[in-house]
Point group: C2
Chain length 379, copies 2
């Protein structure tokens, strides 16, 4: 099925892979490379068994958080040779890839090794029949977003128009995944760099649709509810206002967006990017906001790559914190959290005893210095 | 000052370093190597400036957690050559070390690059004067625990009697640090392996005395309060009982201690070790419990080193979750959390987008399989 997005600038084509997984092309330029002139989409001819779902969720009674147990993922593909890249268009390598088309601009599809899937199989309600240990199927969705068909490229190399297409894809997927029964939160993110565990080098991100409110957002909702009770206002909107008023940590400001280093940054490089208008998620952004986002997001990522002298590709995690679906939605507000685990060239910030064991973060860098550096490396 | 511990089996000698930091020897064998026959302790002759404290805490209003901002630590010593090891006794290397004595069994001293210290300097109450961003001094304490004077050894190589001395040191420090004004929680832990960021190879652990309840414990207290309200019982005691009843994840059981893989384990290798008696912390253990702990802890660590074929030294984090000091103490209960970031030989579990960005854990291994393997590799 083909639909037009962004005033007809982007063509979205939906199809399915050989094992039944969904795949969506987002093409932004003639001749709409993912299909031929007749708009016939390439067919995935691989002899794959039907996609299944083997993960389940267990409730961690010590923290109140759900943990996904996804043992089938331990066998997933790990840094394959370039000619076996599953994210390149089919025909470029020696084996058929996950993407049947001979080319694409941006493509999104269901992960072959998903932690969460709508095909999750049923499990008994309790581990060992004990009410201390609730269990349920790993219902949800994990999608892969290929930012470009160019294997050796990087997000920061994309032209603004292509970034705009990625924004459109994120918004489209957020809207559709939020509508899946049981989904409570949609998280679009990119892990970049082998230092943080990327298993495929082809430029790509991921989208997780969780059947629970994530722990980070749960903490935010507790804080935001208390703030609402005390002031009647939205916490994230007040934080943005305070950052713009102070200016000490503002990195860049556009007409619709402002980027700032949070006052209590926990990573050696961390910056948040928030829209000026109260919106719950990417799907709620209007065209002008999406257009500017393509510019400022790319600007931020390029500054990240100039952050450390001698490091041309900063390993980073970029994650879109969105309001949950359903209860608590009015307390949330869209923002991007971009951060790096690099604390100096060649030195990683490890999450050791204090962080991983106790959850207590120690940042070796002062937030105002992060902001100063991110301002300094503007183009 | 010299005191006798563990029925006179262990001699504790307190002194100070050249810059005023405290240092404690725990010697368990004649001739009490840290002092000479007259029990005169070696003096630290290094020309050090007085120890200071440069860190402060900022409140992260988005999560409700305190973050330590400790910029002076970014210059700390990173994998020094062996003859400059600061944890070896003085005289073994080419430069005077942190430990003035020519030998020791176990030694504990204040970290030279502390995230938290009782010498923390005052800071304005608010960042930028905004009530959204509370700030306070990084008051607390960070100590280093050297498990042996043998640079090339490892905790798993220690004799049981030496482990017993480490247990005594942990208990002693927990008791003393808990009494410091403002300290809310004491966390004894070991980071082992360069894979998780260890910056000194000499076998050592750390002790953090936090001026706040750590996020992991805050989550536990929320869960335990709810459990107490509903059942009248202690959550951690009920979890231990349920694990012993089920047996599916029990790894080893002694007279006073049981080790089990938690039902919702979030790490590829994770095991908890809990005392059978309700105790808040290590300081509350009696002699019989401490004696057995030396055996079972060592047993667990040695199993960890046999967990993966071809990996002789598992990178791990071992952290003692203790009840907080003051409010909520009655809801806490001592247990050890031992976990590894290794998911297969040569493959690390990275905390990428889902874990680091959203706080949502995905474990590629089924908890019952972790337990089975830990049972299988018993000596």
């Amino acid at each position: 099925m083909i639909t037009n997005l962004a005033d007809g600038r982007i063509r979205r084509s939906a199809t399915r892979m050989a094992d039944g997984r969904e795949l969506f092309y987002f093409d932004d330029s003639e001749p709409f490379v993912s299909g031929d002139a007749d708009r016939t989409l390439a067919v995935d001819l691989r002899p794959l068994p039907p996609a299944g779902g083997g993960s389940h969720l267990r409730f961690d009674v010590l923290t109140g958080e759900w943990v996904a147990i996804a043992s089938h993922r331990n066998d997933r593909i790990f840094l394959p040779p370039r000619d076996e890249c599953p994210l390149c268009p089919t025909g470029r390598g020696t084996v058929p890839s996950e993407v049947p088309a001979p080319g694409y601009d941006v493509v999104v599809f269901e992960n072959r090794f998903p932690s969460l899937t709508t095909r999750a199989t049923g499990v008994p309600d309790l581990v060992d029949g004990d009410p201390l240990w609730p269990r349920r199927p790993g219902t949800g969705r994990c999608e892969v977003v290929c930012f470009t068909s160019d294997h050796s490229s990087s997000f920061t190399d994309l032209p603004v128009a292509r970034v705009r297409t990625v924004v459109e894809a994120w918004a489209d997927r957020t809207r559709e995944l939020s509508a899946i029964d049981g989904v409570r939160q949609v998280f679009c993110f990119e892990n970049r760099g082998e230092e943080i565990g990327v298993t495929l080098n082809h430029p790509h991100g991921q989208i997780y649709a969780y059947p629970f409110v994530t722990p980070r957002t749960s903490a935010l909702l507790r804080q935001a509810a208390e703030h609402r009770r005390r002031t009647g206002r939205n916490l994230l909107a007040d934080v943005l206002d305070a950052e713009r008023r102070s200016g000490a940590r503002v990195v860049l400001a556009g007409e619709h967006w402002t980027a700032y280093v949070p006052a209590a940054a926990r990573w050696p490089v961390e910056v948040h990017l928030a829209p000026h208008r109260d919106v719950p998620d990417l799907a709620a952004l209007d065209d002008a906001e999406r257009d500017e986002l393509a510019h400022v997001y790319l600007d931020l990522l390029r500054r990240a790559d100039r952050y450390f002298d001698g490091v041309t590709a900063l390993p980073y995690i970029a994650g879109w914190q969105q309001a949950p679906v359903g209860e608590g939605r009015e307390l949330g507000r869209l923002y991007l959290q971009l951060f790096s685990v690099l604390r100096a060239p060649g030195k990683l910030k490890y999450l050791a005893g204090s962080e991983s064991g106790a959850g207590a973060w120690i940042n070796d860098v002062v937030p105002e210095q992060i902001a100063a550096r991110l301002r300094e490396v503007a183009e």
